[in-house]
């Protein structure tokens, strides 16, 4: 392995030109996508548009590409970085020169990513995140993997000496202990057992939107015939209508299943959890390979979710919410398809001293069910109203299915709701189809809020909203005295012990 010298300004790998070129081209076409469609369509239709022939258009396109290529080369030539003792230096800009200096101690996260193109030409991109605002991050587009790892460890190297608390990726290469690696079968199971309701809704709305668009078109074509069809509404057509709809729904369900499975595969392909001395590293992705490290001190919330089916299959997922991580990156901190033991091990690694059964398990007041019932009643009214308006009195039969489901919904959501408060942790359970458990450390709380609506006041019911640096969680509808005592207890905990939240 050739050791790269970072002490003098260097450029990234020359393959960077390709990467920058590709990024620029894609963003250019994204911006003018609509314009292209409109232009292209009218040219196909009329062969020419204001003297622009397809040939000239092609010529124009090539010119644009060449311009982008030149910009990419210039950008590459003017992109230089180096390391000094305490800082990372970066010089960029073709016309406006920017010189960025980041002190090593202020670096929050270093990611190594690899998208599809970068996989083909065998380079990785390195992203440096600081605690500042969301835009203050630096991305080096093309480095070979060894250099990137080297740079990553060097960026943290000084850090460890100065600040012993923040030490992500200590000895990346030395003790690489692969703790968990997902198998394709478990990934497949994970995809199948997902809550398909969301993807189903997404696809249904999409198809419905497409259908209504086309319907107008069809109506315009043979409106007379359609009216006749409506008049001759006999038994057979109704049967056919129901059959067609049933097939459509079945198709949509299968499609959403496929959609979930493919999505799960692409995001979590080759998911790997690597254990280091203090940190945990996640590697995953098919087209976009990412490598992330988790530092226990920066973790604010853990969200664990599973459902009935997944529980039976031994599948649990865990989302880790960290402070100072941008929103786009946040969703990458998900680990899926964990076994129960692995899950417990990982929780203990990330939150030391956490015991599941510590603290008394308490439930919200039954008022919870009243709110859930009201929500369902609203849904019920809308459903019946729409059904009655469009399909007539017969549509009300749907209540035969809906009402038992709604009752089940209310009862299940109440059954699953609970909270525990122990010496150092808060655990909140919720969910209906999914079972969600949120865990946070008390000393990481940023603020506590007591929330009470005007209807809850006479009943002495209060919700408690607890915010950390990355998320707010709610303990819903508990009695006022209990809420107040928790409120006081949490504030006492935060204010009396002088522990940092990060």
């Amino acid at each position: 392995m050739e050791i790269t010298d970072f002490s003098h300004p260097i450029r990234q790998s020359s393959k960077g030109i390709i990467v920058i070129f590709a990024f620029k081209t894609i963003s250019f076409f994204k911006k003018f996508f609509v314009l292209f469609i409109a232009f292209g369509l009218s040219i196909v239709k009329n062969q020419t548009l204001g003297g622009v022939t397809p040939f000239r258009l092609l010529l124009g396109l090539i010119t644009v590409l060449i311009v982008i290529l030149v910009i990419a080369i210039l950008k590459y030539l003017n992109f230089k970085f180096h390391l000094s003792d305490d800082d990372f230096h970066l010089a960029t800009g073709v016309i406006n020169k920017d010189n960025t200096i980041i002190p090593k101690s202020k670096i929050q996260n270093v990611y190594i990513k690899q998208n599809f193109l970068q996989q083909v030409i065998n380079v990785v991109s390195l992203k440096i995140e600081t605690a500042g605002d969301k835009k203050s991050e630096i991305e080096i587009n093309a480095l070979d993997k060894a250099t990137a790892l080297d740079l990553k460890s060097k960026l943290f190297a000084k850090n460890n000496v100065v600040n012993a608390v923040e030490s992500p990726t200590q000895a990346v290469v030395k003790d690489r202990d692969v703790f968990f690696k997902v198998t394709p079968i478990r990934l497949l199971l994970e995809g199948i057992s997902q809550n398909h309701f969301k993807s189903f809704l997404l696809i249904t709305t999409f198809v419905f939107g497409l259908y209504t668009e086309l319907e107008d078109y069809l109506k315009a074509l043979n409106i007379e015939e359609r009216i006749e069809d409506y008049v001759n509404f006999d038994e057979e057509t109704i049967f056919n209508l129901i059959l067609t709809n049933a097939i459509l729904i079945l198709g949509a369900v299968l499609f959403s299943l496929l959609f979930s499975v493919v999505k799960t595969f692409i995001i979590n392909f080759n998911l790997e959890v690597v254990e280091h001395q203090k940190t945990v590293e996640i590697n995953k992705g098919l087209f976009d390979k990412v490598s992330l490290s988790l530092t226990p001190s920066r973790i604010q919330n853990l969200v664990i979710s599973t459902n009935r089916l997944k529980q039976a299959l031994g599948l649990h997922s865990m989302a880790v919410k960290q402070a100072m991580v941008n929103v786009k990156q946040q969703k990458n901190f998900n680990i899926v398809a964990l076994e129960k033991e692995q899950l417990h091990y990982l929780i203990n690694k990330l939150l030391s001293g956490y015991f599941e059964d510590e603290g008394e398990k308490r439930k919200p007041r039954p008022y919870y069910m009243r709110i859930a019932t009201l929500e369902m009643l609203l849904f019920f009214t809308v459903l019946n109203g729409l059904g009655f308006a469009f399909l007539g009195i017969d549509a009300l039969w749907v209540n035969l299915i809906f009402i038992p489901l709604a009752v089940l919904y209310v009862l299940t959501s109440y059954r699953k709701a609970y909270y525990r408060i122990s010496e150092n942790f808060i655990t909140i359970g919720s969910g209906v189809i999914d079972t969600t458990t949120q865990i946070l450390e008390i000393h990481k709380i940023q603020s506590v809020k007591l929330k009470q609506s005007i209807f809850q006041r006479p009943r002495k019911v209060v919700s408690l909203v607890i915010s950390t640096a990355s998320q707010s969680v709610t303990i819903p509808y508990i009695s006022k005295s209990e809420a107040l005592s928790i409120n006081n207890y949490l504030l006492y905990k935060v204010e009396s012990q002088d522990r940092d939240w990060m």
Binding site: E423, V448, R457, A469, L491, Y492, M502
Partner: protein
């Protein structure tokens, strides 16, 4: 130690419910009233504009314009009443270790932010607030935007004092 054990302690803990919260300056009601008046004027103006436009077209009005006007005025009165009552719910307090701010009529919120979690404090004064000698104190934490506090309608002097106290404490920590 479980929560039950510590609950015996919690009775001796400082209680948020015992803190006497201070109402914000009465002068801030004037600012609310002025802002609301502006909105109501625009709303009522819109009704008359609608009337004028429809009459010009000589179209037939489905309902009398006066009904609409009465509805709008009723809405304005109700809205003002609610904001007047909500104004009285805006209260704050500063303790040794935290800041408490309560507000809201329909949904009442009482937020407590420990001073050790505050990132920075800001005092902002609009043109109207300067005229009435008021200030808005903005308290930022590292948390979600939901955990930031913005206390409007503080007397200017008091806002500055609170700001100084908090700043001194934050800097003292470091």
């Amino acid at each position: 130690m479980t929560f039950i054990n510590s609950q015996i302690q919690t009775e001796d803990l400082p209680r948020v419910e015992d803190v006497i919260l201070k109402p914000i300056s009465k002068a801030y009601l004037k600012i609310i009233a002025l802002n609301k008046l502006l909105i109501y004027t625009v709303l009522i103006g819109l009704v008359f504009l609608g009337k004028y436009l429809i009459e010009n077209k000589e179209a037939h009005l489905p309902i009398s314009i006066w009904y609409v006007l009465v509805a709008v005025v009723l809405f304005c009165v109700l809205n003002f009443l609610v904001s007047f009552l909500a104004f009285q719910k805006r209260k704050y307090a500063l303790r040794t270790h935290d800041v408490i701010y309560a507000k809201g009529l329909l949904v009442h919120n009482k937020v407590t932010v420990p001073i050790s979690r505050i990132q920075h404090v800001e005092e902002s004064r609009s043109w109207l607030a300067r005229y009435f000698g008021l200030a808005t104190l903005k308290i930022y934490t590292a948390g979600e935007s939901g955990s930031d506090l913005s206390i409007s309608g503080l007397p200017h002097l008091e806002a500055t004092q609170i700001k100084e106290v908090i700043s001194a404490k934050i800097n003292g920590d470091n």
